[in-house]
């Protein structure tokens, strides 16, 4: 909340300039075990990914850890065995026991070389329902290349939720949106599809909140994502599925540190970055650094729809989906007539549509 320094206070940077920086020094780190996965109260399969961290900065060279034995146990006596379905990624059986809020889970890993790892016990906190999802016409201000402020208008998707309980809650939201598009231009008569669907996921967003300092466990106006009026998403009808995960206090701290690292702008008013410790440790050698977090969350989800006709024209003007197809002179691209030619579009109507 308050320490929202984020990119803040680079303060008086007058003409602060940000340039790519050549590290120029040989960064030599160790390859460390990274554990990434969670158990939820939804139906499985649950997924745990085991990798070694990469010695470079692009993260792709991380090597998968194959052949490990991975088990989730609960203090309540449950045991879930995960099997390696693809290299380094371990899945539970879809029919396995579901996680249950209030239970305390622990992850156990034994590597082929015999090293044993475990997570700290994680108690799965209960989750409250999402009360509402709503969209507000807002602008995102940006700097133009001419150094003037320009506004981009669109819909900010917000979530309200809360149990009105007095226990503090920690939450993380993930989203997945699906939207219907229509061809920008039509040729009569046409055998081309009249409607297509696209999907995207907020894979890199870390939307988290804590109600720790509030009187009630209520989250209001939690921003989820911004949908611009320029672009395809609002052309016909837009839908977003929001998943709300409950977090333990440890998981919340972990994700807020990851968020801080990713969003920090290098201001000297930011805490200097440091290695982020998770909740995994080597059972036999507590000094070994292990990265990642094993999370136990309950999930609430809710879907929200909005039609183009429901999006106010003002402020910000009408939705403009295919500005490039409206041009005079040049021949419009084929996708202006055939929406299935738009990247990743499908003509198959989703089940919930």
């Amino acid at each position: 909340m308050v320490r929202k320094y984020g990119s803040l206070l680079i303060f008086f940077l007058l003409s602060a300039c940000i340039d790519p920086f050549e590290l120029g020094q040989e960064l030599q780190g160790d390859s460390l075990l990274v554990v990434d996965g969670k158990i939820t109260n939804q139906e499985g399969p649950y997924q745990i990914a085991l990798r070694y961290s990469s010695a470079t900065l692009d993260g792709f060279e991380s090597t998968a850890v194959a052949g490990a034995q991975v088990t989730i146990t609960s203090q309540e006596g449950q045991q879930i065995i995960l099997t390696e379905a693809e290299t380094g990624v371990y899945y539970s059986d879809a029919a396995a026991i579901r996680g249950q809020a209030g239970n305390t889970y622990q992850l156990h890993i034994t590597l082929p070389d015999g090293k044993r790892y475990a997570s700290e016990p994680e108690t799965m906190p209960p989750v409250t329902e999402i009360d509402s999802i709503y969209a507000v016409v807002e602008r995102r201000t940006a700097l133009s290349t001419l150094n003037t402020l320009i506004d981009r208008w669109g819909l900010e998707i917000y979530v309200n939720s809360g149990s009105n309980g007095t226990m503090p809650g920690f939450y993380r939201w993930e989203w997945e949106d699906t939207y219907q598009i229509a061809p920008a231009l039509t040729l009569e008569p046409s055998s081309l599809p009249g409607a297509c669907w696209l999907s995207s996921r907020g894979l890199r967003d870390i939307n988290i909140a804590s109600t720790q300092s509030l009187a009630r466990d209520v989250v209001e106006k939690q921003p989820i994502t911004f949908v611009s009026k320029r672009g395809l998403k609002l052309q016909v009808r837009y839908s977003i599925l929001v998943r709300q995960y409950s977090l333990s206090s440890g998981a919340y701290t972990y994700w807020s540190r990851i968020k801080e690292q990713i969003e920090g702008a290098g201001s000297v008013f930011d805490p200097p970055p440091a290695q982020i410790a998770g909740n995994i440790y080597n059972v036999d050698d507590p000094n070994e650094v292990v990265l990642g977090y094993f999370q136990a969350s309950s999930v609430a989800e809710r879907r929200f729809f909005i039609r183009r006709t429901e999006v106010p024209t003002q402020p910000g003007g009408p939705v403009n989906a295919f500005p490039e197809c409206q041009g005079v002179g040049a021949e419009p691209s084929p996708y202006c007539y055939d929406c299935s030619l738009v990247n990743e579009a499908t003509t198959e109507r989703p089940s919930f549509w």
Binding site: L8, A16, F60, R216, F269
Partner: protein, 914 residues
């Protein structure tokens, strides 16, 4: 007789300018060191050249430029005189006689290299003779009370213009070679056997005075001194006795004259005391525009900053770009890096003692300036002539317009302002009693991207009553109050709209007594009582919609009592011992609640076993200890000395920060049950040498410092609104060592200094538990460990009115933590950082220049003004401020560097005086 005052000038100085003119200052500094003293009389210098109706001023300039001679004169006299003639290796004396033949000017050659031009020679020599003719003595005392015991002579040395006491004026008795200096009130004492003496009085910026005195018995003599009139002489920027660095017992201290500070090129034209301090050896700063400074490997919170005795908690505006002091209102500042006198305590790294000016007691004066960022105005008003006066002034900014020109979205949506105001009132009851009251107020406000608003401010007041008990006993009673507070407002339209506020106050009473029993001892003693109150934080909802639970962390309070005694003992002419002891007793007091943690486990919320409550006034934790201070000076000869010092300091207020630079919301914490006082021990050894009549001042100092109970933070520590702060903090030890080289040229057309420091600052945090160790319990560099630090400062007086200044700084890059690899969590790439501070950003260097044009040189004028043009970061070096990593579209981490002031910044400032 004012025009007959001069002071030591150098032979050969001007000639050097010619040979090195186009080379760097460096050349000058070094060549000057080796320039031999010449014994030749200036009058015998042989002059060659042809002049045709050359103005006298031009002639003198040429002569000065070519021969080792200095002229002293009043510019008004020169106007009508022209020089014509051809001289072929004629002695200067002869040439001058010829030039002055038909004028009312004459000259005398003084101290071999100085030529003083005089008007009305008869009157001058009459005056000179009168001074030397033993006829006009000031008689002190009563012949009936003469005795075999030495008589005591005491009194004030004052500025004749304003009536203010002059601090650090030196008195010298020619016959006995005795010296004395005035104290902070301008008061001096001398002990002399009955007899006739010649007393010389010197103070920087004032004409030297000489008095013939006949001492019969105890008595007082107060002296007025006149300001130097010609701007030429303002070049002199030394303070105290010109050889104080060699002859004084104090080491590792620098007294900065504000006139000197004003001549340095300043960022956006804002004269800045703190930025000037950063140019001294042993002082560094975390980053460009970062608040505070680091002294000899200490952190920012280990500096005690006093303004007329008021502790200032955040001496910076706009997060550190400008210092919180209005330079127009300051008299001087002294920075103690080591050998800290016993009267100071409470911080372990340094003391910066800043003094406000005393307002003119005789006439109304004012000064001010208009710059790009701020404007300032101050006025000195005599309230009762020679008795009482008031100095009042303020400064305010209009930086919003700059924000609106920035190429940064968030900053374009930001607002900022600051102001500060000072006042100093003094009242002189009589020769024995004097009261002065100073106050300080500052406020900063910053609205970031239209969302979060930050405000912080200092406020303080001090009252000091000086009381002269007897000529040998002097006392002062001081009461001070100082407060700092900040608030952060989050005004977004959500359930968590909040306002966080925190504040800190200190109240202190100090009684100090100084006693000078003889020429050989100077005793200083005193007691000091302080009360601290600290509100660590209070979080409240900002409006009715906010669901925020109001929360207030428990207040903390402490009391501290300290006593000190110090003596400067002159064992012999060569040996001076400065020894003292400070003893402090500290108690953290109730009401309060203290968490108890399970033994044998690291402190965390999970290991809390109990909470113990303390009643109001009940001690929660007490700490006490002695702080010895010793320094010894051995004078090898009049120009060279060796000094050694040891001091121990204790600190009970800790600035806790987990950011690289200090932010206003960093918190202060009092020593308590878990956080113990920081204890710093420092030994330093120095070699000091002045040459060319104190014109070149040089020193080498080495030091080693050890600090116990340093406060460090755990990775990911939450410092704000944390009622279990101790669980996020760690205790460590620190060590710092370094060597500081300093060469300054204080006199002449070219002045400046070269400072080089090699220093390390290391820390270690050890614990039986892994989570309480940093870097596995090994020594690691602190955030401000910058081994190499070089500063070169130069000022060149081009003509009497035009001045050119430049400064260059170079320092090693500060340590940072860099990623040594990366890993992915889902689609997010996370950098895996190294252990703390294992890498460095590239070195920092920058050159600034400035150019000043002063108004006319008339002594009496209603309006005096000057223009200063400066260019900060001349060659636009993009010094990396920090390095950070951004996840790009495909989840790759790219390193970027942020340079804050990465281009040249020109500025212009207009200053005026009336």
């Amino acid at each position: 007789m004012v025009f007959l005052k001069f002071f030591d000038r150098l032979p050969g100085r001007t000639r050097q300018f010619m040979t090195c003119k186009s080379i760097l200052f460096l050349c000058l500094f070094f060549s000057l060191l080796h320039y031999p003293l010449q014994a030749q009389d200036a009058g015998d210098i042989r002059i060659s050249g042809t002049y045709q109706h050359t103005p006298l001023a031009g002639f003198i300039q040429q002569v000065e430029a070519r021969y080792p001679v200095r002229f002293f004169f009043r510019e008004e006299w020169m106007q009508p005189v022209r020089v014509s003639g051809k001289f072929d290796s004629r002695p200067l004396r002869e040439v001058l006689q010829k030039i002055f033949q038909d004028t009312d000017l004459s000259f005398i050659v003084y101290r071999q290299h100085q030529v003083v031009l005089m008007k009305s020679p008869a009157a001058v020599s009459a005056a000179l003779n009168a001074q030397r003719s033993n006829e006009k003595f000031i008689v002190i005392g009563d012949s009936l009370r003469m005795s075999a015991q030495p008589a005591e002579l005491s009194g004030y040395v004052r500025d004749a213009g304003s009536g203010e006491g002059l601090v650090g004026a030196s008195l010298y008795v020619e016959e006995t070679q005795q010296g004395a200096a005035t104290n902070a009130s301008g008061y001096y004492t001398l002990s002399l056997p009955a007899g006739n003496y010649h007393l010389r009085i010197q103070s920087v910026g004032f004409e030297e005075e000489e008095r013939s005195i006949r001492v019969l018995s105890n008595g007082s003599l107060s002296l007025d001194m006149f300001e130097r009139t010609s701007r030429l002489e303002e070049i002199v920027i030394t303070d105290r006795a010109e050889d104080a660095n060699v002859s004084g017992a104090q080491m590792s201290a620098t007294r900065l004259d504000i006139q000197k500070v004003k001549k340095l090129p300043a960022f956006l034209g804002e004269v800045d005391l703190i930025n000037s301090i950063e140019m001294l050896p042993g002082v560094s700063v975390a980053g460009e525009g970062a608040a505070g400074f680091n002294v000899r490997g200490g952190d920012v919170g280990q500096n005690l900053v006093l303004l007329d005795g008021i502790p200032i908690f955040n001496p910076s505006h706009l997060f550190g770009f400008f210092s919180a002091f209005n330079a127009d209102m300051l008299q001087e500042a002294t920075l103690y890096k080591g050998g800290i006198p016993a009267q100071y305590g409470g911080r372990i790294a340094s003391v910066l003692d800043v003094k406000l000016k005393e307002a003119n007691l005789r006439k109304v004066e004012g000064s001010g300036g208009v710059g790009l960022v701020s404007s300032r105005l101050s006025v000195e008003v005599p309230l009762a002539k020679d008795k009482s006066s008031l100095l009042i002034g303020g400064r305010t900014t209009y930086s919003d317009w700059i924000l609106n020109r920035l190429r940064d979205l968030q900053l374009r949506q930001s607002k900022a302002y600051f102001y500060d105001a000072n006042a100093r009132f003094n009242y002189r009851f009589n020769e024995k009693h004097k009261l002065s009251v100073s106050s300080y107020l500052s406020r900063d406000y910053f609205l970031y991207a239209g969302e979060n608003a930050y405000g912080y401010g200092n406020r303080g007041v001090s009252a000091q009553w000086n009381f002269l008990i007897s000529p040998r006993w002097f006392s002062s009673l001081q009461a001070t109050y100082s407060g700092f507070d900040y608030d952060v407002t989050d005004d977004q339209d959500t359930v968590s709209a909040s306002r966080l506020s925190s504040g800190f106050t200190i109240a202190q009473v100090r009684l100090g007594v100084s006693y000078v029993p003889s020429e050989r001892h100077q005793w200083e003693g005193g007691v000091e009582a302080s009360g601290y109150r600290f509100a660590p934080g209070s979080l409240e909802p900002l409006n009715e919609n906010s669901l925020l639970l109001p929360e207030t962390l428990e207040r903390e309070q402490s009391a501290e009592v300290a006593a000190y005694l110090n003596d400067v003992f002159t064992l012999s002419r060569k040996l001076t011992l400065n020894y003292g002891l400070r003893y402090s007793w500290y108690a953290n007091l109730g009401p309060g609640q203290v968490y108890q943690y399970q033994e044998g486990l690291p402190q965390s919320s999970a290991t809390v076993t109990d909470t113990v409550s303390y009643a109001a006034g009940e001690p929660i934790a007490t700490y006490q200890g002695a702080e010895p201070r010793v320094s010894l000076r051995y004078g090898i000869n009049g120009r060279t000395s060796v000094k050694v010092s040891y001091n121990r300091m204790r600190q009970n207020m800790h600035l806790i920060s987990n950011t690289t630079a200090i932010t206003p919301t960093d918190i202060w914490k009092l020593s308590d049950r878990y956080i113990r006082p920081q204890i710093g021990d420092q030994v330093a050894l120095g070699y000091f040498r002045n040459s060319l009549g104190n014109a070149i001042e040089s020193s080498i100092e080495v030091y080693y410092k050890k600090v116990d109970n340093l406060v460090e933070y755990k990775n990911g520590a939450q410092l704000l609104m944390n009622d279990q702060l101790e669980a996020d903090l760690l205790s460590g030890t620190g060590r710092a060592y370094g060597i500081e080289l300093f060469i300054a040229k204080n006199i002449g057309r070219l002045t400046g200094w070269l400072a080089y420091t090699y220093a390390r600052s290391l820390r270690r945090v050890e614990s039986p538990y892994r989570e309480e160790r940093i870097n596995a319990g090994t020594f690691y560099p602190s955030n401000f460990d910058k081994p190499h630090d070089l500063t070169l400062v130069g000022n060149y007086q081009l003509t009497r009115r035009v001045r050119f200044g430049a400064n260059f700084t170079y320092s090693s890059g500060r340590p940072i933590t860099l990623p040594e690899g990366s890993y992915r969590l889902g689609a997010i790439t996370v950098a895996n950082f190294s252990e703390r501070n294992q890498y460095r950003i590239p070195p920092y260097h920058r050159l600034d220049i400035s150019f000043s044009v002063d108004g006319n040189l008339k002594r009496k004028k209603a309006w005096d003004n000057s223009w200063t043009f400066s260019l900060y970061n001349l060659y636009g070096r993009k010094n990396p401020y920090s390095v950070f990593f951004v996840n790009d579209q495909i989840g790759r981490l790219t390193a970027y560097k942020l340079a804050i002031l990465g281009r040249p910044f020109p500025s212009v400032t207009y200053n005026f005086k009336f």
